[in-house]
């Protein structure tokens, strides 16, 4: 299971990386915005994407749309971990095809639940 973590703040990437490691996911890579993440996804055989929304360069929502528009990536599970908390934004992300949405500040438990739920659903398909 190879996971890409996209966030412009290295501390947040590190927190998510640590939490994922606690959940048993040790194969992770990092990117600081959509522009660096997209080529990594296109060439890197990732199984899961965790992304922030608000980033310089390409935002998380645009990255999500780019992933869904890419023939090879469109089924990649995407979890959004973001401080964006407007109802309109959550609906927008859902319409863009997000698989899970975690608002910051979040707990290790919330992240764990969402990830497990996404994998359950992916495996059920």
């Amino acid at each position: 299971m190879k996971i890409l973590i996209v966030d412009d703040f290295s501390t947040m990437r590190r927190i998510i990386k640590n939490l994922l490691r606690d959940l048993g996911f040790t194969n992770t890579a990092e990117a600081d915005d959509g522009n660096t993440a997209l080529p990594m996804l296109q060439s890197g055989n990732f199984d899961f994407l965790v992304t922030d929304w608000n980033m310089p360069g390409m935002s998380g929502i645009d990255l999500l749309r780019a992933v869904r528009a890419d023939e090879r990536l469109k089924h990649l599970p995407v979890l959004m971990v973001t401080a964006e908390a407007k109802r309109d934004q959550i609906i927008e992300a859902a319409q863009a095809g997000v698989n899970g949405y975690v608002v910051k500040p979040f707990t290790a438990q919330a992240l764990k639940e969402k990830i497990e739920k996404i994998f359950e659903r992916v495996q059920a398909k």
């Binding site: 640590n18 929304w53 109802r87 934004q89 959550i90 979040f106 707990t107």
Partner: protein, 264 residues
């Protein structure tokens, strides 16, 4: 910032007085057929209006400038280096300093957690192994050789538990100390809030004053329709007062409720 409550009001009153005086003179000159003098009076009215406007704009610009220039705090004690202080000379540098301090504290904390966590988990693992052997001993299922080995392992384990406990206590203390950024960043952010507040006050005065000038001169501005976009692709960052707002979720539970209402 040394600004009168409503500088525009004062300017308007001054101008109205001057306008009344000049108007009488203007009528007199016109009635006497003295058109050259009348034109001079009209010119004087214009000048009075412009003077008031320039005076207010000048005053507000100075106040704004002072507010930005005076935005200095002594960070020497925080950085312990005077050459560093000169770099921190404006609000955005100060906010960068907040980002740096919080980044440093977060990384320091995570370093210590990453060092401590494996030590604790190793200790826990050994304790579990020892306990299972200890239970075998209690059930008298252990040979003498094995017991001698357990005896030695127990001694080693106690020593290791003591050392690990000391190490982790030290790290916990360091994690506590790493939170001292809050005091420093809090001070900087409060200064920036004051600056923003002062600038906003000045801009409001400018707007009020401009309104008075418009009223005096009879200028009407066409309302510019402001286009409000639903959401920005860039994102908007953390929302404040989330608990009192209808359009913002106040936690993960509300996100989950919203998503499940959408069929997630």
């Amino acid at each position: 910032m040394a600004l009168s409550k409503d500088p525009g009001q004062a300017t308007a009153q001054e101008f109205e007085h001057s306008l009344k005086d000049n108007a009488r003179q203007l009528v007199d000159h016109l009635e006497q057929g003295d058109f050259a003098e009348a034109l001079l009076v009209i010119h004087a009215i214009n000048q009075a209006r412009d003077r008031g406007l320039y005076h207010e704009v000048g005053q507000l610009t100075r106040a704004l400038h002072n507010s930005i220039v005076n935005f200095q705090i002594d960070t020497t004690h925080a950085l312990g280096d005077e050459t560093e202080t000169s770099k921190i000379s404006d609000a955005s540098d100060r906010l960068d300093y907040v980002v740096q301090l919080t980044d440093k504290a977060a990384n320091r904390t995570m370093d210590l957690v990453e060092i401590s966590a494996p030590k604790i988990s190793e200790l826990g693992g050994e304790a579990a192994a020892l306990r299972s052997d200890w239970q075998r001993l209690q059930r008298r299922e252990m040979a003498a050789d094995e017991f001698r080995e357990l005896y030695k392992r127990m001694g080693d384990f106690l020593e290791k538990a003591e050392n690990t406990s000391n190490d982790v206590s030290g790290h916990l203390n360091d994690i506590l100390i790493a939170q001292d950024y809050q005091d420093l960043t809090g001070q900087v952010i409060k200064r920036v809030i004051t600056l923003v507040h002062d600038v906003e006050e000045s801009l409001l005065s400018l707007v009020r004053m401009a309104g008075q000038v418009d009223r005096i001169t009879g200028i009407n501005h066409a309302e510019t329709a402001s286009e409000t976009k639903k959401t920005s692709p860039r994102g908007e960052g953390p929302q404040i007062h989330a608990d009192t707002r209808e359009d913002v979720v106040s936690g993960q539970d509300e996100v989950d409720d919203l998503l499940s209402s959408l069929g997630f």
